[in-house]
Amino acid sequence: MKDLLRLRTSLTEEIEALLNEQIKMEARSSSIYLSMSSWCDRNGFDNSAKYLEKQSGEERGHMLKLFRFVNDMGGKAISPEITDIPQEFDSFKGVFELALQQEINVTASFNRIADRCFKAKDFMTFQFLQWFLNEQIEEEYVARRILELFEVIGEEGTGRWQIDKNIPGVSYGE
């Protein structure tokens, strides 16, 4: 009997569902970075606001990369529904603590998907995920570096102004 499942897509139902969840997670990240950007803007951290807005765009890029992959493989990419985005944050530092936590969650999620791909012997998707795993090295590094600024510079006096000024310069050189 003809294998109609395989004719439709090389993705198993499980992997397709996992990728769609990841699409949602990236979209959510994008939305949260944008609300962080707005909070920073309202509180006078202009550089951070710009940095977070750019970050939001990158997350949307990640979402689209996954989205196209699912469709390209014959699957059905689902445009995600995102609700309950926090609009208020405890503090300037709190914003970046949350950013790091979010990146850690994303890394964990990609590791889980890679593990499932390996078990399902889906090496095409496994290969596709390498780009994201690599990207997470940079994402976590930058988020951690920014948090360190709070320790190195200190928040007293003009500290927060200094921190804000230094945030755009944080980058990952391999």
Binding site: M1, K2, D3, L4, L5, R6, L7, R8, E13, K76
Partner: protein, 118 residues
């Protein structure tokens, strides 16, 4: 699940209340249930199975209001509107889950045979 020479329609799974066929000419699935036939493309068949499986039977049983006695499934990919009683839902779940298992099994068999294809 042997191919039938006279027809492109292959029986995938059958119960007392319905049958699922695979059509090798149109590459789709035909669900015969409660005296009606509907054709589904692969992705839509999987979606349909998921939706039927998602129907909460215990919720239907618990809820005493009259509208809870039936479930209406209106799907954009088929003309047919499914109006299902609890009994129908149980029967349809059985049919679709059985068919899906056979379709997956067929996929596994094909995957295994592929290594001898060359």
């Amino acid at each position: 699940m042997a191919d039938n020479n006279y027809s492109q329609l292959i029986e995938v799974f059958s119960t007392e209340h319905g049958t699922v066929y695979q059509c090798n000419r149109n590459n789709n699935f035909v669900v015969e249930f409660a005296g009606n036939c509907s054709a589904f493309k692969t992705g839509n068949f999987l979606d349909f199975t998921r939706r039927v499986n998602a129907i909460n039977l215990s919720e239907m049983a618990k809820n005493t209001s009259r509208h809870a006695d039936i479930v209406i499934l209106m799907l954009h990919y088929t003309e047919r509107c499914f109006v299902l009683t609890m009994k129908d839902v149980i029967r349809l779940k059985e049919l679709l889950c059985g068919a899906k298992a056979m379709i997956e099994l067929n996929s596994i068999v094909n995957e295994c045979l592929r290594q001898y294809a060359f």
